[in-house]
């Protein structure tokens, strides 16, 4: 049975961060990926995502996200040149298709599609990192201060997800043994799976009702509850300031149009639009992360100070 790609506590500096700070770090990466279009910055963002994945020791856990991201990225790479015909360097002259026009494939649309695909892959990896390395209980505690009902719904959903996956897997196996033919064409499979889906969702509703009963038995929703605060440690301000500074720089560059890159009509010079200080700052930040991760394991003194 494959382990589900969900949060499990590990002894790493990233897991040791306050959930709000860990979320800020992830958010800063997301801002970098979504606001800057320059391929060099995106490569640096990729290095940043990977260094955090290594720092949090979740390379294996984020495998499913990586696979899904690669699949989606491949789709983007294949589809984009077919629907985006801008660009001056035509690589392949295609036929004329009604509605879509002439299906010429240009170098620029191919590069643009590849960079967009890479971006999508990075976003998937960031979500993978967030779901496997940030404690949902910690995040829900923060959410509960804002809205306890939303926090409750999210808690039950998070709690039910692994149960649902396991039950769906077991249900499929049991029905196979009973003689249900679940193989075959897509239509046949869909028809065969329909009764189980209904039973699965009914089971989930029953389970949610049981969880609600258990919560009620433990006094949930019966007055003002105490919200335990996760204490901040010395490492938290360090990561928090770094991340917020990163977000500020990225937003500023985006506003000033510094992180842009022209893909059309022709690819512009990759060195144009690059800010040396920004590249150096990003490289420095990710190098810091790598050093912290390395020293966390090897220097107990530093670890105790953080």
């Amino acid at each position: 049975m494959k382990p589900l790609p969900l949060y499990r506590h590990k002894d790493t500096v990233f897991h040791g961060l306050h959930p709000a700070i860990a979320a800020t770090v992830v958010f800063s990466l997301l801002a970098l990926i979504l606001l800057l279009r320059h391929p060099v910055y995106l490569c640096l963002a990729g290095a940043g995502v990977w260094s955090l994945v290594v720092l949090a020791d979740v390379a294996r856990e984020t495998g499913p996200h990586l696979r899904l991201g690669l699949f989606m990225a491949l789709l983007v790479v294949m589809v984009n040149p077919l629907v985006n015909h801008r660009g001056e360097h035509v690589l392949v002259y295609g036929p004329h298709v009604p509605l879509l026009g002439k299906l010429d494939i240009t170098l620029e649309s191919l590069v643009y599609g590849s960079v967009s695909a890479f971006r999508l892959l990075l976003v998937m990896m960031v979500f993978g990192l967030a779901s496997t390395a940030i404690s949902p209980d910690g995040l829900l505690d923060i959410l509960a201060r804002i809205s306890s009902r939303s926090s409750l719904s999210a808690a039950i959903a998070i709690r039910l997800y692994p149960s649902m996956v396991v039950e769906a897997r077991e249900m499929k196996e049991v029905q196979l043994v009973r003689g249900e033919r679940l193989q075959g064409g897509a239509w046949q499979r869909m028809r065969a799976h329909l009764p189980f889906l209904a039973a699965l969702f009914q089971g989930l509703l029953d389970r949610a009702a049981c969880i609600a009963e258990s919560m009620s038995a433990r006094g949930f929703g019966s007055g003002k509850a105490t919200r335990r605060r996760t204490p901040f440690r010395a490492r938290d301000p360090f990561f928090g300031v770094f991340s917020l500074a990163g977000v500020a720089v990225v937003v500023l560059m985006s506003v000033l149009g510094k992180g842009d890159y022209d893909y059309f009509p022709t690819l512009s010079n990759p060195l144009r639009g690059l800010e040396a200080w920004a590249v150096a700052a990003l490289c420095g930040e990710f190098a810091c992360l790598a050093i912290i991760g390395w020293s966390w394991k090897r220097w107990p003194w530093l670890r105790s100070r953080m």
Partner: protein, 561 residues
């Protein structure tokens, strides 16, 4: 002062015409250990929900009569007030855990109670240390074993320092060791802090001796209320509800009925040696038939999960036609993995598996539907039809049986498993024990398959239900049906098995005749064996025990009276 006062209470669930409990009168004093017994669906859970305010606060419905808990009128008290003095642990830990980590789960109730943060931290630490779950502090809850999860829940409710602890079949999902551990904690809490315990349980051998009072329910009414000793005598005509050791003495006609193995052994000493020789000479030894067809086999079977967990490490198993074999072992020992490998649902990492002479695989499974039946641990994964009757019809269809006469067959099967009245109900609305019975009814529909594989078939099942299942399985066994059962229920295993195997750490640590494997053990032996071990080694079945006790009673005459 009575902590729980229930006066003339009847209760109807929403949209139900028939009351779930009727005219209940019950007073429970501080410090009592009350054991609630009765057949499945008799109203035990409803009564327990009443004692902690879930009825009417959570379930709604209509209530008549008066319920006072810790001096508060239950319908008027808030759930916060009630949850501070009475806490409940339900049957299935999977359906009660709210958080994703253990520490958070333990603090959940304390946070809801609005206690100061420093007190919450202190109580969480205290409970985790006391229950021995500190090492699990940050464990991912869906990955805990059933025993660990139930311990976490117990810690979570005990952290609230309740005056009343209500437990609804808390050990039904646990292996014998985990069940013993959990009950030891409950007893310790009861003895050391004077907490009142109200517990319902079908496996009475586990808890009968802990109780100070027994309340027996039938059809929504309390029909007996007294001490365990009085209960043992009162149950003369309802022997199904006695723990095995008491039942054997009752069936053998002894006047004094012991409640524990210890008490029972004190009645035996001199009689043992006197009739041992006669017993040995008349005992029937069934020789193995070496030439029988092999239905399923595993040779040096290994299975390693992608996370690197070695679930099976070189397991050998051979199941011959007509044999009834049980596999036991603690939670996580690899029992369910073994079944899945045998069925072809998991490929062996190393070694060989053979089912009906072929290597099993997912593709081959649908073709084996008429020869093979499988009852999974979780009946919800089996039951997908809208009604009980349709579930059986679906089984017939999947096995390729003739439609003509199917209705009659289904009706007969429903009656045989005591499900006749539930034919038009949704399987999901049945109790856990009833669902298990329905799954077995589907699996054992005639023509009975050649191989029946059962994963925890008696979960949540009462004694009469178990007896019915045993009767059916034994009957089919004599017709050549092979049975492989994975179970934690030692008494059921002993009553069913010809052969047994104990798994530990993914290895078959002991395999052989059931008498050898299930005899002479502290936790994996039935009560009859623990009673007669030393006098009559290898006796594991109640019928044999009753025969011996009857003979001893005849020999001792008036002494036994």
């Amino acid at each position: 002062m009575a902590l729980v006062e229930i006066e003339n209470v009847s209760y109807w669930y929403p949209r139900q015409e028939k009351p779930a409990i009727r005219d209940i009168n019950l007073e429970i004093e501080e410090g009592e250990f009350v054991l609630l017994t009765g057949p499945t669906g008799c109203g035990k859970t409803t009564l327990m929900r009443l004692t902690n305010g879930l009825i009417p606060h959570f379930h709604g419905g209509r209530i008549r009569g008066r319920v006072r808990i810790c001096g508060m009128e239950a319908p008027a008290a808030t759930t916060r007030q009630l949850s501070r003095c009475v806490c409940m642990v339900f049957q299935n830990p999977e359906e009660q855990l709210v958080s994703t980590t253990v520490e958070k789960e333990v603090s959940f109730g304390l946070e809801n109670a609005g206690l100061p943060e420093t007190l919450i931290r202190k109580r969480v630490e205290e409970m985790m240390a006391g229950m021995g779950i500190s090492r699990l502090r940050r464990s991912f809850i869906p990955e805990l074993s059933a025993g660990e999860a139930q311990k976490v829940l117990l810690a979570a409710v005990l952290a609230l320092h309740p005056r009343i602890l209500v437990l609804d079949e808390p050990t039904s999902q646990l292996d014998p060791l985990s069940a013993e551990e959990l009950l030891t904690v409950v007893r310790r809490v009861h003895e050391e802090s004077g907490t009142t315990v109200i517990m319902s349980e079908h496996r009475l051998e586990r808890c009968f001796h802990h109780a100070t009072r027994v309340v027996h329910m039938e059809r929504g009414e309390v029909v007996f209320d007294g001490t365990p000793a009085e209960a043992a005598n009162w149950w003369g005509g309802r022997r199904s509800f006695l723990p095995p050791v008491s039942r054997m003495f009752a069936c053998a006609g002894w006047k004094k009925i012991p409640l524990t193995v210890n008490e029972a052994r004190r009645l035996l000493p001199d009689a043992g040696s006197a009739c041992l020789r006669r017993w040995e000479s008349c005992r029937e030894v069934v020789a193995g038939d070496d030439g029988r067809e092999v239905v399923a086999a595993a040779r040096s079977l290994w299975h390693v999960y992608p996370a690197g967990i070695e679930a099976l490490r070189g397991v050998d198993l051979r199941l011959e036609k007509g044999e009834r074999m049980v596999v036991m072992g603690e939670n996580g020992a690899g029992k369910s993995t073994l079944l899945r490998c045998l069925l072809g649902l998991l490929p062996p990492t190393r070694g060989k598996v053979c089912l009906f002479g072929l290597m099993p695989s997912e593709e081959r499974l649908p073709g084996l539907a008429s020869r093979l039946a499988y009852c999974p641990q979780n009946p919800n994964t089996y039951l997908v039809s809208p009604t009980v009757r349709e579930e059986l019809m679906r089984t017939m269809r999947l096995r390729g049986c003739q439609v003509a006469g199917a209705e009659a067959t289904v009706r007969e099967q429903l009656d045989a498993f005591g499900l006749g009245e539930m034919a038009e109900r949704n399987p999901r609305d049945l109790s856990c024990g009833e669902k298990e019975r329905l799954v077995l009814a589907c699996a054992l529909l005639p023509p009975v398959p050649e191989l029946v594989i059962l994963d925890e078939p008696t979960r949540g099942m009462d004694y009469p239900g178990k007896e019915r299942v045993l009767e059916v399985l034994r009957g089919h066994g004599s017709e050549g049906c092979t049975v492989l059962a994975v179970t934690h229920d030692v008494e059921f295993a002993a009553a069913l098995a010809d052969r047994a195997s104990i798994l530990g750490g993914g290895m078959a640590v002991a395999s052989g005749r059931a008498e050898e494997i299930l005899g002479g053990s502290l936790f994996f032996s039935p009560q009859v064996n623990r009673l007669l071990d030393g006098f009559f080694p290898g006796v594991i079945r109640e019928e044999e025990g009753i025969a011996i006790l009857r003979r001893m009673r005849e020999e001792r005459g008036a002494d036994a009276e």
